[in-house]
Symmetry: D3
Subunit: 239 residues, 6 copies
C-alpha cells in the first residue's frame, strides 16, 4: 500500500502549463503532484568557446531549489557561494537529456539555456524538470522558427523522465518524498518518445538489487514515460 | 501620460495570496502587476551568535531573482558563486523593515528567516517583497501562537513599501519597469500602518531633485502604503 | 547635550588635505573629527564593457576599512575572501553620488576609479568619503586637463554629504560613533553645491520617525553641506 | 575490432597493489591498463554532525586528477578554487558504492575517508577507483581490527565496478580512452561480489539505446566484475 | 651612483611614529623614505585552536596594500576575493619574525594580531613592516603590563629588517623601487638587536650570485639593522 | 646522532626516474628517501598576457600534496576551495628557481607549466620538487628540439636544491620529517651546477642563529647539490 493510496504503476497527477513566464522564449510550469518546477528556455546568440565556428549549437541547463521549497529550509546556494554536488549532478543530467533529442547542426551556432527552478519539492524534482524542460525547449524552438531564425525544428524526438523504486519490497512508479526517503532502491529513467533509453541512474540505498527487480523498474518507467509523452504532445498541440 | 495608462497616483493591480507555500510556517505570493514575488517565513530555533542569552529574537531576509524572471536572462548568483551588491542591499533593507515593527523581546530567542524570490520582475521587486513579507511573517507568528510557542503577537505595527519617482517631470506612484528605466529620480518608501517612516531611499538618476519634488513623492507613497496596508489587513483577517 | 559638547547644528572639525598621495592623479585625506578617510582617484583608459563605443566615461568607487580603524578589530575583507553587504552598499553609494555631478560625455571613454580607505573610523565614514572623493575627482580631472587629455571640466556641480540623526529625541548634525550607536534614527544626505538632492537614505533604528522629524534632519543637512561645499571650494582654489 | 586489439569481453590488464602508501591505514594502487589510481583510506575518529550520537559510522570519498594525468594538461582544481561538477559526481558515486557494502553500525562512530587520486588517466578512472578503494577500505578495517578498535569486519560484501559501452555498434567491456571518446553509449556498473546491483549509470552520447543493448552491457559488466572481485580476494588473501 | 644619490651603505630617511592609531593597543607609522606602512597591534583574548590549553600565546600578522599605494593602481584584494601569493608570503614572514623574539609562554593564552597596511609603497614594504610592527607589538605588551594583564615583557630581543641587493654590480643597502626593479639580486634580512639571524630570503633575479656577494649583502644588512634597532629603542624610550 | 643513522653531511638515498608519465612532454619521479614527488612539464603554446609580443617565454610551477601523502591526512585544497599560503610560497619558489637557469628569449613565446605533486612526504618536498623539475623541464625542452620547435637548449645551467638545518646543535644535510619537526633552524638552498646561489631561504624556528652557523649550512648545501647535480646529469645522459 503506497502512502498516497496510488496504484503501484500510477503517476501522480501531472500537469504541464506552457507559457507560464511572461518573458522567456519558452517556458513551462510542470507539476507532479506537490512537486512544482518552473522551466524556462532562454535563447542566447553566443555558444560556448569550444563550439565557435563549428556550425553546432548547444543546449545547457541550470537547476536550483528555492530555500523553502522543501519541508525544512535549506541554505540558499547563492548565499553559501557554491552549488552543491547534487545540484551540479542534476543540471548536467538535464542538459544531457535534452541534447540527446536535439539535432545541434539544425540549430546553428545558438545556445538555449534552460533554467529549472523548484518552487515546491515533494520528490522527483529532476525527472519533473526534464519532462517540463522539453516543453519549454520546444516552445523556444517554435518561437525561433516563427521569427525566421530557424528553418526546421531541431528536436528529433520527445524526451521525458520518471523515477521508480523499490518501496517495501515492491516496484512502484513515480516516488513522492514519503516513498523516496524510505525506498530500498531508486532509479531515474530518461526515455524518448520512441522508447529509446537516454539515461539510466539506478542506486541501491541499502542493499543491492537484482536484475529482475531492475527490469521491473524499467517496465514501470516505460509505462510512465508513455503517459508523460502523450501529455507533452497534448499541451504542445502536436500529433 | 504613463505607459500603462494609470493615473499618477494609481497603484498597479495588487494581490496578496497568503499560504501559497505548502511547507513554510508563513508565506505569501505578492503581485504588483507583472511583478510577482514569493515570500516565505521559516522558523529557526537558533539565533545568531551575538544574540545568544539575550532573550531577544531576530528576523532576517534573503532575496533572489530567478534567472529568467527578467526581460533578458541574468546569470544565476549560485552559479557565479556570489550575491551581487544589489541583492545584498535589498535583503538588508527587507530585514531592517521587518525588524522595525517587531518587538524582538516578545519573540524569545527564535529566528524567522524570510525568503523573497522573484518569480517575475517588472519593477518594484523590493517594495513588493517588503509588502508580502509582512504577511508571511504575520502568518508565521500566528502559527507560533497557535502551537503555543508564543504568548503574544510580536508585531507592533504593519509595514509596507512602495516606490515613487519622477517620470517625464511628474511624480508618479508605483513605477513599473518601463517607467523605472527612464525615471529622473526614484525613491523607495517603507512606511508603517500608523504612517511612521521606517526607511527612505531616494536617488537622483541623472539630475538632482528638489525638496518640493521629494515632498510630492512622499505624499504619493503615503497614499499607496495606506492602500497596501488595508489589503494586508484584509487578507490576514485583522481589523 | 551631545557627548562631544557640540551644538546640535555643529559639524565636527573638518579638514580636507588635497594631494595626500604621491602617485594618484587626484587624492584627498578627509577628516571629520576622528574619522579619517584617504580618497584617491586613479585614471584608467578603459571603460566597462557596457560603455564601449558609446563615447561616455564612467566613475566608480571602492571602499574599505583598515581592520583596526575601528574601536575593536574587524576581520580583513581580503582575508575573508569577500566584501560585506555594508561595504558594497557604501561603494555603490559613493559611485552614484559622484556620477550625479559628472557630465560623462565630456569625459570621453575614460574611467576614474575612486578608492576610499578608512584609516580611522568614528562614525560617518561614508559621508566623509563622498565629501573627500569629490576633491580627489576634481583634482584628477584638473590633471587630465593640464596634460591635454580633457578639454573641459566634466564636473557640473559640487557634491558633499553628511549624516544627521535623532539623538535623545533631538535632531543633530554629523553624528559621531557615540551618537550613531545610540541614535533612534539616522539619515545620510548627499546634496549638491546648488542645494539639489542627490541621494537620501534614512533609517529608523527602533521606532519609526515622523515627517516633521525628517524635515528637521534635512534642514540640518543643508546647513552642513553648505559648509562642506565652501571648504571644498577653498582647498580647490575655485570660486 | 577494438583499437587495443582486445576481445569484446576482455578487461585490460588489471593490477591491485595493496599497501602502496607508507602512512595511510589502508591503500591500493589500482591499474586498469594505462589508468592508474592511488586509493588511500584514512581513519578519522569524528563523524559528520548528522551522525553524532547515532552509533553509526560513515565512509566518504574524494577524487582528484593530477593536472597532467591526461593527454593534455587540465587546470588544477585547487588553483581554480573549486571542484568541477564531474569531480563531485564521481566522488559521491564512490562514497555511495562503498557504503552499500558497509555495515555502518558495526563501525561505531568512526569515519573512513577515501582519497582517489588519478596518477594517469586512460578512461575508466571512476570504475578503477571504486575497485581499488574497496581494497584500501578492507585494509583499513583490518588494521582497526588488529589494533582492537573494531570487533568484526564491517564489510558485508565485495564491491567493484567496470564501464561498458557501444563502440562501432558492438557492446564492449572496459572502455579505454580511445573507445570512450567515440562510444555511442557508455554505462558504469557497480556490482557486488554476490552479483547484486549497487549502481548503474548509463548514458547515450548521441542516439538513445535499446533495452536489448542495455542487457548486453549488463552481461559484460557481470563478467568483468566477477574477474575483478576474484583479483580483490587474491590480493587481500581472503577466500 | 644610486638614483637617489645615497651612499651604498646608507638607509633612506627612516621615521617611526608610535601611537599613530587612536584605538589599537599598539601602533606605529613607519616610513622608509616614500614607503609608509601603518602597523597596528590588536589584543585578542582567544588563541588559535591548536594552542588551546597549552598556556602559550600567539602573534600573527596580516598585510595589505591600499590599491593606489603604488605607482599604478592594483586591484583591491577584497574585491578580487583572495589574497595573492605575495601577500600571503609577506604576512607569514612578518608573523615568524615577531614570534622569533617573543617568549610565548610569558604571554599566556592571548593573541596579538598585527596589521600592516601599506599607505604608500616605494620598495621595501615588508622590511619596513617588520621594523614598525616590532614597535607596535612592544607598545601592546606595555599596555597589557600597565593594566596588569601581563607580569613581564614577553619580548626577548628586538627585531628589525632591511633589504639589500646588487644594483649595477654593487651591493647597496635599503633598495627603493627604482633600484629594486632593476636589481640583479635582492635579499631581505631579518635580524635581532643582538645580531642573530632570524630570517634570510635571497633571490637572484636573473643571474645567480656568488658567496662573496652574499656576504657583502649580509654585512650591509647588519649595519642597517643596527641603525634601525637604535631608532626603535629611541622611540620606545628603552635603553 | 641522526634518527636515520645518516652522517651529518649525508643525503638520503636519492633517485630520479625520468619519463615516469606517459603523456607529459617531460616528467620525473624524484625520491629523496620516503619523500616522493612526481614532476611533469607540459608545453603550452600561449604565454601570460604580460609577455605577448615580447619574444620571451615563461616557466611556471604548481605544487600540491595528495591528502594522505603525509603522516596524518590533510584537507584537500580543491575541496577547501583555495591553496594555502604555504602552497603558494612553494610554487612561486619552484618557478623562480627554474627561470633562473632558463634563457627565456631562446624559448620563444611558449610556456612550460611544471606540476609538482607530492605522492608521499617525509620532509624536503620543495627541494626534491626543484631537483626533479629540472629533469622534467630538460626533457620537455629536448622534446621540443627533437620535433624542431626549438633550435637550441634554453637551459643555461643546472639547478638543484636541498635543505639543511640545525638539529640538536649540529648542522645536518637534507632534513627528513623527524629532524625537520625538531630543528632549531632550517634553510633551503637553491644552487646551480656552477655553484651560483639562486635562492636562500633560512628561518630560525625558535632562537636566532649566528653567521658561522649559517656558513656551515651553506657548505653542506654545496656538497649536497654537487651530488644532486651529478645525478641529474647521469639520468639525462649529459656530460
Amino acid at each position: 500500500m503506497r502512502p498516497s493510496g496510488r496504484a503501484f504503476d500510477q503517476l501522480r497527477t501531472v500537469s504541464l502549463e506552457p507559457g507560464f513566464s511572461r518573458y522567456a522564449e519558452g517556458s513551462c510550469m510542470v507539476r507532479f503532484g506537490n512537486t512544482h518546477v518552473l522551466c524556462t528556455a532562454s535563447v542566447d546568440e553566443t555558444v560556448p568557446r569550444f563550439l565557435k565556428n563549428t556550425g553546432l549549437g548547444w543546449v545547457t541547463a541550470e537547476y536550483g531549489m528555492l530555500p523553502r521549497s522543501t519541508h525544512s529550509r535549506s541554505d540558499r546556494e547563492a548565499a553559501k557561494g557554491k552549488q552543491s554536488g547534487r545540484t551540479q549532478e542534476i543540471q548536467r543530467l538535464i542538459g544531457r537529456a535534452l541534447r540527446a533529442v536535439t539535432d545541434r547542426s539544425a540549430m546553428g551556432e545558438k545556445q538555449i539555456k534552460i533554467d529549472c527552478d523548484v518552487i515546491q519539492a515533494d520528490g522527483g524534482t529532476r525527472t519533473a524538470a526534464i519532462t517540463g524542460s522539453y516543453v519549454a525547449l520546444h516552445l523556444a524552438f517554435q518561437h525561433l522558427m516563427q521569427i525566421g531564425a530557424l528553418k526546421t525544428m531541431p528536436l528529433t524526438d520527445q524526451v521525458a523522465a520518471v523515477s521508480c523504486g523499490l518501496y517495501q519490497g515492491n516496484a512502484v512508479l513515480d516516488l513522492d518524498y514519503d516513498e523516496d526517503s524510505k525506498a530500498q532502491a531508486d532509479a531515474n529513467f530518461v526515455l524518448t518518445g520512441k522508447a529509446g533509453i537516454v539515461e539510466i541512474q539506478g542506486t541501491a540505498e541499502e542493499t543491492p538489487f537484482s536484475e529482475p527487480q531492475f527490469m521491473e523498474l524499467l517496465a514501470l518507467a516505460r509505462k510512465g514515460v508513455t503517459e508523460l509523452a502523450a501529455l507533452q504532445k497534448q499541451v504542445l498541440g502536436i500529433k
